[in-house]
Symmetry: C2
Subunit: 172 residues, 2 copies
Amino acid sequence: MAVSVLRLGHRIYRDQRITTHVFLTARALGVKEGFYTGQRDTSMEESIGHICKDFGGSFKITYLENWKSFLQKWKSGGGRIAHLTVYGLPFKKTPKRRDRLMVVVGGEKVPPEIYQMADWNVAVGSQPHSEVAALGLFLYEQNGRKLPEKFVKARLRVVPQERGKKVLEKAP
Amino acid sequence: MAVSVLRLGHRIYRDQRITTHVFLTARALGVKEGFYTGQRDTSMEESIGHICKDFGGSFKITYLENWKSFLQKWKSGGGRIAHLTVYGLPFKKTPKRRDRLMVVVGGEKVPPEIYQMADWNVAVGSQPHSEVAALGLFLYEQNGRKLPEKFVKARLRVVPQERGKKVLEKAP
């Protein structure tokens, strides 16, 4: 699935954990590329990088200086944009796209142009919500309600257990 | 649906936004009661309280001094426990319960007894994840993939729009 996620307006102190959760959710739901704008946060990038190294897969994050020119280029190359917002239309009505879909997750202040640039303004319930949970539910429906099972080149692998913890480590 | 959520080990500075997201997700997915342990955080309680007042519904939060005696009482009264953990069994296999289910969301350090007290240790994918997104996906499946539409006594109501924002305010 070539779905990407763009997190807007990251602030180092206030948003570090939320943005980390946004990217962990994206990765766990099979997204391959994450982008973010706002303040560059190498510590957040590194913590996601460590997880990807340990648990595999090909997820990577890119910092963007300019979201507007990036999204304009994305659209002119045939990409589509789904913008998650409480004000949008019900998420189950968004067409399923497995290719070139950018899911935009807002921050504290969302630039009004996003509502116009988006192909779909999408609400996961019309209630105040967590953008992390909203992203998870949106991607889950887009994926046909499946979670990816294979993450290539993993060093660590969690083996599901009824009780307790089991993690297999690959010999180096 | 009488499903409740217990957030363990809240820390005021580090966890404020994540715990807020946990409870917003719980409320948006139809949970009526939230509980938490760790540090008492009246500011977090108030911010959830304001949202409930504006957007309606009957969600409320209770702080617990002692999670263990609380959960023992819960179980002896016929309640069941689902503990969200990356180490658990796939979430779609958890029996659907619409009554007396406590969903436990861990914090930084999860007491090992939880794995024993839980009726189900539940993983939403065996990958590092956001507990916020994991909670959202678990509740979504438990609800038969529906979001509640009615929140009683709402002062504000978001009306879904293709673009832009529309919020109706009830006359006082």
